[in-house]
């Protein structure tokens, strides 16, 4: 069985225009018509609108989280134009208490989970990267088949419960620790590394662990970065398993606290006094929680952006 996740990638060489060109100037091939002014304007408007639809709500959330109660009352709710920024909402949320604890839980689960998932996945991907090794096909089939079925929510729930993982953070890590898709992407990349390089290292006496650590991994930084981001975002964004397996409200990660505070509009534990007496705006607190959830992702993902295509497409798998 051969699974094909995406087309193999050739890449654009758009610079066919004649003569030297300025950096950043359009590389339009000689045979292509000059674009009409209306066409250019239309494209510009469409792209700007698409970007605006994404950025405008985020702007409102960030500005409101930084606004004082007076500004928010004056605007009648959400604030579009910043006026006299204040960090009071963040200061209150991060001075211990429910949200501080939840943020710490999320950071820890994400860190531990990502390291664990990456270790397991990289080892497995390397172990399966040599076609013709013993049991290679069997093991690959075993993993591939899981992409076609799901055992179902109820049996999985009963299993996690039977394993005694309820009310432990392991329940947030182990059931979702391995993504077969990610392993296949890593494996596809490892398989592309020049076999001569690996063979010569083997002749020099290097074992598989050493080859993986000193040759394969340094050559795979780009794909490792992408898969690390995928796993980390997965752990950071997860909330369902916590709602399923954790009963203690004090153990909840940030996303679950965000459901309570923002969606269900509950006042954060310990801060209701400050909100009622008027120093703190409840709305600013909600927005600040949202910013805390989106900030790490928004800061990290653009750094890995240039490698996304690799992470999405080298999963083209050969059995």
């Amino acid at each position: 069985m051969t699974a094909v996740v995406g087309p193999s990638v050739g890449d654009p060489v758009r610079g066919r225009g004649a003569g030297p060109r300025r950096r950043g100037a359009p590389a339009r091939p000689a045979w292509e018509e000059e674009p009409s002014a209306a066409g250019l304007a239309g494209k510009g408007v469409a792209l700007s609108l698409a970007c605006l639809a994404i950025l405008f709500p985020l702007w409102i959330v960030v500005v409101t989280s930084l606004s004082s109660r007076a500004t928010i009352d004056e605007a009648g709710g959400l604030v579009m134009v910043p006026k006299g920024l204040t960090f009071i909402a963040y200061r209150e949320l991060l001075s211990g208490g429910q949200v501080t604890r939840a943020a710490l839980v999320s950071v820890l689960v994400t860190l531990v989970g990502t390291v664990f998932s990456m270790t397991v996945s990289v080892l497995c991907a390397y172990g399966l990267s040599r076609t013709g090794s013993l049991a290679h096909r069997w093991l690959l089939m075993l993993l591939l088949a899981t992409m076609f079925f799901s055992a179902g929510l109820i049996p999985t729930y009963l299993l996690v419960q039977s394993l005694g993982l309820t009310d432990t953070y392991l329940a947030l890590i182990l059931p979702s620790a391995v993504s077969v898709f990610n392993i296949l992407v890593l494996r596809g990349f490892f398989m592309g590394i020049s076999p001569e390089l690996v063979d010569s290292a083997r002749i020099d006496g290097a074992g598989d662990v050493r080859i993986l650590w000193q040759i394969v991994m340094p050559l795979s930084r780009a794909v490792l970065a992408v898969i690390t981001l995928f796993y980390a975002v997965g752990y950071w964004s997860a909330w369902f398993n916590a709602s399923l397996y954790l009963n203690d409200q004090d153990m909840m990660p940030l996303q679950n606290v965000m459901i309570q505070l923002v969606q269900k509009q509950e006042a954060p534990v310990g801060l209701s006094q400050a909100i009622r007496t008027g120093q703190l705006s409840g709305l600013a607190v909600q927005m600040a929680v949202m910013v805390m959830a989106l900030l790490p992702v928004a800061v990290l993902s653009p750094f890995v952006q240039k490698h996304f295509r690799k992470g999405m497409l080298t999963g083209a798998v050969k059995g």
């Binding site: 995406g6 045979w31 970007c51 172990g127 049991a135 076609f148 179902g152 049996p155 009963l158 080298t314």
Partner: protein, 354 residues
């Protein structure tokens, strides 16, 4: 953010990641345990070499073990738990689910019979199919169009910045996406605030059952349409420029080049993604819907997955919920295989090929 992607992408193309030379070596293997013909390592066959091959590859096998064990425990082992679908499962028999399963009475197909007579189940099925159809019609074409738009932008700077912005929401959690939509379109959201400011009544789109499928689709577009363009961009980039040049020389204008060169190049990718989507038709965004199920009510907001969740996790009616989950799982496998079959018949690759 400010990297110019085009030269970098060019460098990516020279990485050996997708060269098939390496993996092509296994084409001659005849069975699961005979080795590859491509390398000298798997030359021997028979009993004597099995021990040899084990000694040679034991480190590799050992490396796969942690992942294999996790997959066996959390993907394969729970399949057995589906027996509760045929039981009157009592979760209070024991703290341990396995003990409860062993002591619960079997009731044959009672759970399934009850399910097929339950209007709530058929409501969930109906909602699932409506949501799938609306999403397929309104979501699926968006990434193709955005990819064509981005692809026609030649300035590398503009491309890179636009891509960075468009990819971003894919990495947001559903909790965050739903919260953002609530702040924009909810009863106390930006839209209502503006309407009230100008003397109109505010409106709450987040709790309106009639527009719920469109709300969900809008959220999916906002979150994932940008991410969806990656696959199409790659396919567009792999079209040889000569084709465009030749078409232009023959007098094909911008639109005819798109119709006769660009779209045929995208066809296999579109077919593949359609197959994947249809195969997954009964899964329509579990987390997204669960988060908003209470706000719109179950008439519009209950789908198969949330039906299973409600009956099992909330009502502790595990046998009944597992029965619904099992039906969904079996039908889904059938759909995946059927969708692939159709793709093969149409001459496309599908998810796998023999």
């Amino acid at each position: 953010m400010s990297h110019s992607t085009v030269p970098r992408d060019g460098a990516e193309a020279s990485t050996p990641a997708t060269t098939p030379a390496q993996s092509g070596g296994s084409t001659g293997s005849t069975g699961s345990s005979t080795g590859s013909t491509g390398s000298p390592r798997g030359r021997g066959a028979g009993r004597a070499s099995l021990r040899h091959r084990f000694r040679r590859d034991r480190v590799l096998i050992l490396m796969t073990l942690p992942a294999v064990v996790l997959v066996l425990v959390f993907a394969y082992l729970p399949i057995l738990g589906n027996v509760v679908a045929f039981q009157d499962y009592d979760p209070y028999l024991s703290d341990n689910g396995v003990v409860s399963i062993l002591n619960s009475p079997f009731v044959g197909l009672d759970n399934f019979r009850r399910m097929f007579e339950d209007p709530a189940f058929w409501n969930a099925v109906g909602n699932t199919l409506v949501l799938f159809s609306v999403q397929l019609l309104l979501f699926f074409p968006v990434p193709v169009l955005v990819a064509l738009l981005i692809n026609s932008v030649v300035r590398p700077r503009v491309r890179a910045v636009a891509q960075a912005v468009l990819y971003l929401p894919h990495f947001f959690s559903w909790v965050l996406v739903v919260a953002v939509f609530q702040q924009m379109f909810g009863g106390a959201g930006m839209l209502s605030q503006l309407l009230r400011h100008h003397g109109y009544d505010g409106l709450d789109i987040m709790t309106d059952p009639d527009t719920f499928p469109f709300l969900l689709t809008a959220q999916s577009v906002w979150k994932d349409a940008g991410w969806g363009i990656i696959v199409f961009l790659a396919a567009l980039a792999s079209v040889p420029t000569d084709l465009y040049e030749a078409a232009a020389m023959d007098g094909a204008g911008r639109w005819r080049r798109m119709w006769h060169v660009t779209l045929p190049a995208l066809r296999p990718v579109i077919a593949l993604l359609l197959v994947l989507r249809v195969g997954d038709a009964l899964t329509v965004g579990f987390e997204q819907i669960l988060l908003q199920r209470d706000a719109v009510g179950t008439d519009a907001g209950e789908v198969l997955d949330t039906f299973v969740w409600w009956n099992g996790v909330r009502n502790q009616d595990f046998g009944y919920a597992a029965a619904a989950g099992l039906v969904k799982g079996v039908v889904s496998i059938g759909l995946v295989l059927a969708a692939n079959k159709v793709a093969h018949l149409m001459g496309e690759q599908g998810v796998y090929k023999k």
